[in-house]
């Protein structure tokens, strides 16, 4: 059991090496980013939940027309874009930390992180495209408006 004892931080047997001399600053930026993005996300996500769940008919109101109504305004487009990017970067970085903590084998860690980064990239690109290519009046292959769309008037 002796091997289970870990020296307390700042004890003489442990040296703190806080990135003295030119190493990568990536981890420090990641740490700071988690905190800055967190503060902004509180506002963005609480606002999102309030408008989508608490106002009017709450969840019952959500359908294609609801989304069309919100994304007709650049305000909500930018809101959702920021929320998408910040939440995905924050969440991906958080899960990266967790993988580093629990996956002990180099190979496992690499595979898990590769899957994580690919998934994150796909979701961020898809989500961004969805916000900016949204069309309230989509047409089918022969140019006829699809049912349920909003085509003027």
């Amino acid at each position: 059991m002796a091997s289970n004892v870990i020296a307390a931080p700042r004890s003489a047997s442990m040296k703190y090496n806080r990135n003295k001399g030119g190493g990568s600053k990536f981890e420090m930026f990641a740490w700071l980013f988690m905190r800055l993005s967190g503060v902004v996300l509180v506002v963005l996500i609480f606002g999102h939940l309030f408008v989508n769940l608490m106002v009017g008919q709450g969840v019952h109101a959500i359908d294609f027309g609801f989304v069309a109504g919100k994304w007709a305004s650049p305000f909500w487009q930018v809101w959702d874009l920021l929320m998408l990017w910040l939440a995905m970067l924050h969440g991906t970085n958080g899960v990266r930390t967790i993988i580093n903590d629990y996956a002990e084998k180099d190979g496992t860690r690499m595979v898990l992180k590769t899957v994580l980064y690919i998934a994150a990239l796909v979701i961020v690109v898809l989500g961004t495209l969805v916000i900016f290519t949204f069309n309230p009046c989509p047409l089918d292959a022969s140019g006829v408006p699809l049912p349920g769309g909003f085509c003027g008037k």
Partner: protein, 126 residues
């Protein structure tokens, strides 16, 4: 056989459990968000695809799921602010335990009205 010493600096109590809670809620929210962006992307398939899939969510079971998700988010958000206070506020580390009680109090203050409103929308018929 563990390959590393299984020791930890945490000795249970508030500090450790708030960390466990923060980690678990963070992962839950992350996986929710992956699915959430996928289902929202159905607006680019067709209006009916989106509205019908979202329609299948409007059942009481999903209403409870949404309540659970919001409970997780609200905890993660307030505890995240607590972590930030512990890191940046001079007295933060000293009062980390009191801050956690503050987090839990705020969580109750937000969740009670939220649940009353959301569950009456979900179960209130339409």
């Amino acid at each position: 056989m563990p390959t590393k010493p299984a020791g930890t600096l945490y000795r249970g109590r508030e500090g450790m459990w708030s960390w466990v809670g923060h980690r678990v809620t963070g992962v839950v929210i992350f996986f929710f968000l992956l699915v959430h962006v996928l289902d929202t992307s159905l607006v680019r398939v067709s209006p009916e695809a989106y509205t019908s899939v979202i329609g299948t969510y409007k059942i009481p079971l999903m209403g409870l799921g949404e309540a659970g998700l919001v409970a997780a988010i609200v905890f993660h958000a307030f505890n995240g602010l607590r972590i930030i206070a512990v890191d940046f506020w001079k007295k933060g580390p000293k009062y980390q335990r009191q801050l956690l009680w503050g987090v839990l109090a705020l969580w109750v203050i937000v969740m009670v009205p939220f649940l009353i409103r959301h569950l009456s929308i979900v179960f209130g018929g339409h």
